[in-house]
Each structure stands twice: as C-alpha cells, then as structure tokens.
C-alpha cells in the first residue's frame, strides 16, 4: 500500500516517450539516466539522419544509446562522451553544430538576414521620405489654372 504514491509519482513524471524499447537499457541512477538522455538527444542517429539516438528505433541508435550510458556510468563528462562520438562519426553526429570556421555562415544567417532586412527598410524609408522637387513656374501657373476653373 505504501508503494501506491510512488507508482503514481512515476506515472506522472514519466515524461516524453523515447525510443528506449527495453527498460533494461535505462541506468539505475535517475540522475545519470537523465544525463544520458540529454546527451543522447544531441546525438544524431546515423541511420535515420534527422532523429536523435534517443528518438530512433534503429539498431545502431540502440547500440549508441548503450555506449552513451556505459560512458556516463564510467564517469565520463558530457563533453567526453560527445568527443567519443565525434571521433567516430564526425561533427555530423551533433544535431546542434558547433560554431567553427565552417559553420559561421550557418550560425550567422539569422543576423545576416536581419541586417539585409534592416538595410532594405532603411533605404525604402529614405527614398519614401525624400521631398518632392518644388514646382516650376509653368507648373504653378497650370495648377493655378486648374484650381481657378473649379
């Protein structure tokens, strides 16, 4: 009976459904498991290339999840686990690319787009606000004619 609140608590905090199909995959220590999940969510499954290894059902993703947990249990830091993966699969394995010389344009794209937009607005407003040239003598006369006629 004492276990009921505990079971309810687990039901409430079960969180997002990930691809972990076998509960034996999970680490017994919840703090370590949470760390492993956070790391796994940043790692690309190389088979279904737009899913993280936590989301993918592919065999390889399962293997990689197991390795992440192994490393976490062995006391590796998050950075060390990511580096382990990157040594084998390259920077592509990171779902969030790091800011390097090759990815400057990627990370800078929002700022560049914003700057282009700002420039366009600035130019548009300047030409829009430019004052019209004063009327010439002939135009003033023509205008006077028109106004006089009505």
């Amino acid at each position: 009976m004492k276990k009921i609140p505990l079971v309810l608590a687990f039901l409430v905090i079960s969180g997002a459904a990930l691809a972990v199909s076998d509960p034996r995959e999970l680490l017994p220590d919840p703090a370590q498991e949470a760390r492993a999940e956070t790391i796994g969510q940043q790692l690309r499954c190389l088979v279904c290339q737009n899913e993280s290894i936590e989301d993918s059902n592919a065999d390889l993703a399962g293997d990689l999840r197991r390795i992440v947990r192994e490393r976490v249990r062995a006391g590796d830091s998050d950075a060390a686990v990511m580096a382990w993966m990157e040594a084998r699969y390259g920077s592509f394995v990171r779902l969030k690319p790091r800011l390097t010389f090759g990815t400057v344009l990627l990370w800078g794209a929002p700022i560049i787009t914003l700057l282009i937009g700002a420039l366009a607005v600035f130019r548009y407003r300047r030409t829009g606000a430019a004052e019209a040239a004063p009327l010439s003598a002939a135009e003033t006369a023509a205008l006077g004619d028109l106004l006089g006629k009505t």
Partner: protein, 182 residues
C-alpha cells in the same frame, strides 16, 4: 536605370546558380560519385581501432593480425551481413576483386554463424579471413550501415573508405587506383 535592371537580374542569377548546383548533385549521384546519405568518415587517415573478433566456426582475427598482414601489402576490409540485400548485390564484384589477387578480409556485422555460412555458400566467399562483430567494433570504425569497405595500408592506417555496396565501376574507378598508390 542600368542599376535597376541589374538588380532585376539578381533573382535570375540566384536561380541559375541553384540550378547548376542541383544539376551537379544529380549528375554525380547518377555516376555514383556523390551520396547524400554518406556522412564521410573521420577515421580516414587514422590508425585502425583495436579489436579481437571471433570467427565463423573457425578462428577470427584481431587488429594485430590485420596490421601484421597489411605490413606486407594493403588489405581490403569489408563489413557485410547475410541479412543485407546490398551486400548480396556486391558479392559478385567482391568475388572478382578477390580473384584478381586483392586480399579481402570480411567482418560479418550483427550476424549468426549459420546465416553467414549460408550466405557465403550461396554468393561465393571472397574473404581470405573472416570474423564476426556484434556491432561494437563497427562503431569504432565509424560504420553506420552495411556494407562498408575500408583499405588498411602498410602502416595499419585506414587509407580509404566506401559506404554502400561496391560494384565493378567503383572498384575500377576508386578502389583499384587507391590500392595502386599504396
């Protein structure tokens, strides 16, 4: 006025550049020189990982065995599986390669000995040595699927890598020229 006209041409220029890019991609895909799913392999140019794998029935091999054998001349290492259809498709080309005298060592990926034996009986066995891997060594090689093929050079380095099935064209155009350089 000339400037305005130039600005109007800009979208056309962008479109032309994109079109050229897509054309090049499709063209290379058709010729097998570009694979959008290939992620490259950062292990290229690095020493091969250490491993010691069991065989299929008989003895397997370790990285030490491979390094020792490769010291005499580069060795092609092929990861395959009996359950993998592209692997069955590349079997004939691998058999030709083996017949031409190139040593190929095979690693069966996530497989069972009887299934491997059956696969090799049916499709021919091009492998000088054979081992089985449950998946861990493959990850150390940066493998993301089967088949994948590597060349181990005289210094035990990974000198070449190909993801996906080999065919006579890719063997003649890529693998053999690379072998000739090593």
């Amino acid at each position: 006025m000339a400037r305005r006209r130039l600005i109007l041409l800009a979208p056309l220029a962008v479109l032309a550049a994109a079109g050229f890019g897509f054309f090049t991609m499709l063209n290379r895909m058709q010729k097998g020189r570009f694979d959008p799913h290939d992620i490259g392999n950062p292990m290229l140019g690095k020493p091969m990982p250490d491993f010691d794998l069991p065989g299929v029935g008989g003895a397997g091999f370790s990285s030490a065995d491979l390094r020792k054998a490769a010291a005499a001349g580069p060795i092609v290492v092929n990861f395959f599986a009996s359950w993998c259809i592209p692997c069955a498709n590349e079997a004939a080309s691998l058999a030709n390669l083996a017949k031409s005298g190139v040593p190929i060592w095979g690693i069966a990926y996530k497989d069972k000995p009887p299934a491997v034996q059956n696969f090799l009986t049916q499709g021919g066995n091009p492998f000088a040595r054979l081992a089985m891997d449950a998946g861990r060594v493959a990850i150390d090689f940066g493998l993301f699927g089967v088949p994948e093929t590597f060349i181990i050079d005289r210094h035990g380095m990974i000198a070449w890598h190909h993801a996906g099935p080999l065919d006579d064209t890719s063997i003649t155009n890529e693998l053999l020229p690379k072998l000739a350089l090593l």
